[in-house]
């Protein structure tokens, strides 16, 4: 799991614009107080691009280069709106749900928050992708590959190739699947 020093670094260098205007220590102090007792783990991207090619995913769009178009009725499909930035297996297909890990896995203690658009109520929500870890990947069960807004690895808060099982208990760093809970509305 990332320690405070790494956390500081990320804060400091979050983006070029932000870095210049932010008092790192001040922010840390405030957030630290708020989440007292909680690990200071930045919730970085948990997505893993490349695991499943769009063309390979069971419910991928016909054109691997086509525009992402979300729907709001089939939770196990890759184009379900909450999965707008998932790159992994949907836990709902493997004994979990949109918000729960399958039995025997470990919930990662960190995640990446992204904003996804619900086409039904036309609102955007913050989704905190959390990995379920400690079991081998659920090959063939709803592997998805969505890369909306995905940035390179030197911008890890938006990057999508990182295995984010670092913080799971029992050193359970193998990847199984990902849940897509809503954690708030996005503006």
């Amino acid at each position: 799991m990332l320690g405070p020093s790494r956390f500081d670094d990320l804060f400091e260098t979050m983006s070029r614009k932000v870095a210049g205007h932010t008092s790192r220590r001040g922010l840390i102090g405030r957030v630290g107080a708020v989440v007292a007792g909680a690990a200071l783990v930045p919730l970085l991207p948990v997505d893993r691009r490349g695991r499943v090619g769009r063309a390979e995913a069971a419910d991928a769009v016909a054109n691997p280069r086509g525009k992402w178009t979300p729907q709001d009725h089939d939770v196990q499909a890759c184009n379900y709106w909450r999965h707008c930035s998932i790159d992994g297996n949907i836990c709902d297909c493997s004994g979990g749900s949109l918000t729960s890990c399958p039995p025997g896995t470990k919930l990662a203690s960190s995640s990446w928050v992204a904003s996804c658009y619900n086409p039904t109520d036309k609102q955007s929500y913050l989704i905190s992708y959390r990995d379920c870890c400690g079991r081998n990947v659920t090959t063939g069960r709803c592997g998805c590959f969505n890369t909306e807004g995905e940035l390179p690895v030197y911008r890890p808060e938006y990057g999508n190739d990182i295995i984010w099982c670092f913080g799971a208990e029992d050193d359970a760093m193998s990847y199984h699947c990902t849940i897509s809970p809503i954690v708030g509305k996005a503006g």
């Binding site: 919730l43 896995t105 203690s109 809503i182 708030g184 996005a186 503006g187």
Partner: protein
């Protein structure tokens, strides 16, 4: 601790600002506030909407499987003998995958007689396909699917063989596990799950399979066509006694007989459908009259068993289910499309079920209105049928690479 505990009403940046140009910092802040504590307590539970927070919030958790019942099914995928394999837990009532567990090379599955746990004996290497070899037994809780016992075995014993259900088994009290050793000499390993250790390798003659008739007795089947009774003590000291020869040399018994420990019944078909039954109640092997599943005319038409697990037995109704089809000789392990149902006591044929799909392995649940499970390796699918009508009621697909073995609880 749920994320609700980590949420702050005093976040220095309002959510309204999160969309737009400055999202990087905002997202990280938001995310940090939601972080789980390291080594936090129970995951899950209802989260309270934080004060002053009207936004929708999902709680997160790790599922537990429902309490196991007779319709709990475990499907093992040896994945064409890969060193990494998987075991799928399925709810027969709902036709739903409950979870999966990692297993190693040629995994042999056991399920507690009360359903409370399941486990496998399998093999791993320190570098995947090579390196230091470890044979081990891992027992998992049927609800949490977390490992509760892990026992490493000494190096020699385990029989690396296509997975047969009765080559690794539990005693009826679920306190001991028995596994077969092929090399360097035939033996049965007695493992105490209570003491979490291998007690002893018990030498046996050239016999195979392990059918525990009670907690201190098991039967095996020997090359010469007899059964062997082994009576053992807690320390692994054992006495052996052979029965009469009960089948001819050219009556080839399948590698995957059905066994109900609670009924004390072994049901064992041959390649041609002649079906032997052994009653081991009272720790004595009583050979019931064998019955022919197929008439001479049917045999001439090619009717014969075929598949991996070709036979299942329902205890309460005393019914034998036999997977069969019309086939060429020496295709006894190829899939079949039909299940023939017989009364165990008389061998009378009661039904012929057209499954409607190629099937490699069958099993039945032990409840009053049993389900018939039909596994297709090629389709990677477990089909769930009503055992009485034969009608398909549900199915679970995408079961790994080449799922082959079904285990249920004799509960």
């Amino acid at each position: 601790m749920t994320h609700a505990h980590g949420r702050s009403t005093g976040l220095p940046i309002s959510r309204a600002t999160m969309a737009g140009a400055a999202t990087a910092l905002a997202l990280l802040l938001s995310a940090t506030a939601l972080a789980q504590p390291a080594g936090g307590g129970r995951i899950g539970g209802q989260s309270q909407p934080p004060a002053g927070q009207e936004l929708p919030v999902d709680d997160t958790s790790v599922e537990q499987a429902p309490a196991p019942n007779a319709r709990r099914i475990y499907v093992s995928d040896p994945a064409h003998f890969a060193v990494l394999t998987q075991l799928f837990t399925i709810d027969g009532d709902k036709g739903k995958l409950l979870g999966m567990s990692d297993t190693g090379f040629v995994p042999n599955t056991v399920v507690a007689s009360d359903g409370s746990f399941f486990g496998t004996a399998s093999t791993v290497w320190s570098r995947l396909g090579h390196g230091k070899r470890t044979d081990y037994i891992e027992i998992l809780d049927a609800r949490t699917h977390n490992p509760i016992i892990d026992i490493e075995l000494p190096k020699d014993p385990r029989f690396l063989v296509g997975t047969y259900p009765m080559m690794t088994t539990l005693t009826p009290d679920n306190k001991s596990l028995l596994f077969y050793q092929f090399s360097p000499s035939p033996a049965v390993g007695l493992v105490s799950l209570t003491d979490k250790k291998l007690v002893k390798m018990m030498d046996v003659p050239d016999c195979y399979h392990i059918f525990p008739s009670d907690n201190n007795n098991f039967f095996m089947h020997c090359r010469d066509g007899s059964m062997l009774k082994v009576t053992f003590k807690a320390d692994g000291s054992a006495e052996r006694k052979k029965t009469q020869v009960f089948h001819k040399e050219d009556e080839y018994l399948y590698n995957t007989p059905a066994y109900s420990a609670k009924a004390g019944r072994i049901v064992w078909p041959t390649y041609t459908g002649k079906t032997f039954q052994v009653d081991v109640t009272g720790n004595e092997a009583k050979f019931m009259p064998a019955f022919e599943a197929f008439s001479d005319e049917e045999k001439a038409q090619g009717w014969a068993p075929g598949g991996w697990q070709v036979v299942a037995y329902h205890r309460e109704s005393d019914r034998v289910f036999l997977l069969a089809d019309q086939r060429a000789k020496w295709t006894h392990k190829s899939p079949s499309r039909f299940v023939f149902v017989f009364e165990g006591k008389t061998g009378k044929r009661l039904n012929k079920i057209d499954l409607g799909h190629e099937t490699d392995s069958i099993a039945v649940s032990q409840d009053k209105t049993p389900q018939l499970y039909a596994l297709s390796s090629a389709q990677k699918t477990l089909f769930i049928h009503d055992a009485e009508s034969g009608k398909e009621v549900s199915k679970v697909d995408r079961l790994g690479h080449s799922p082959l073995v079904i285990n249920t609880s004799d509960m």
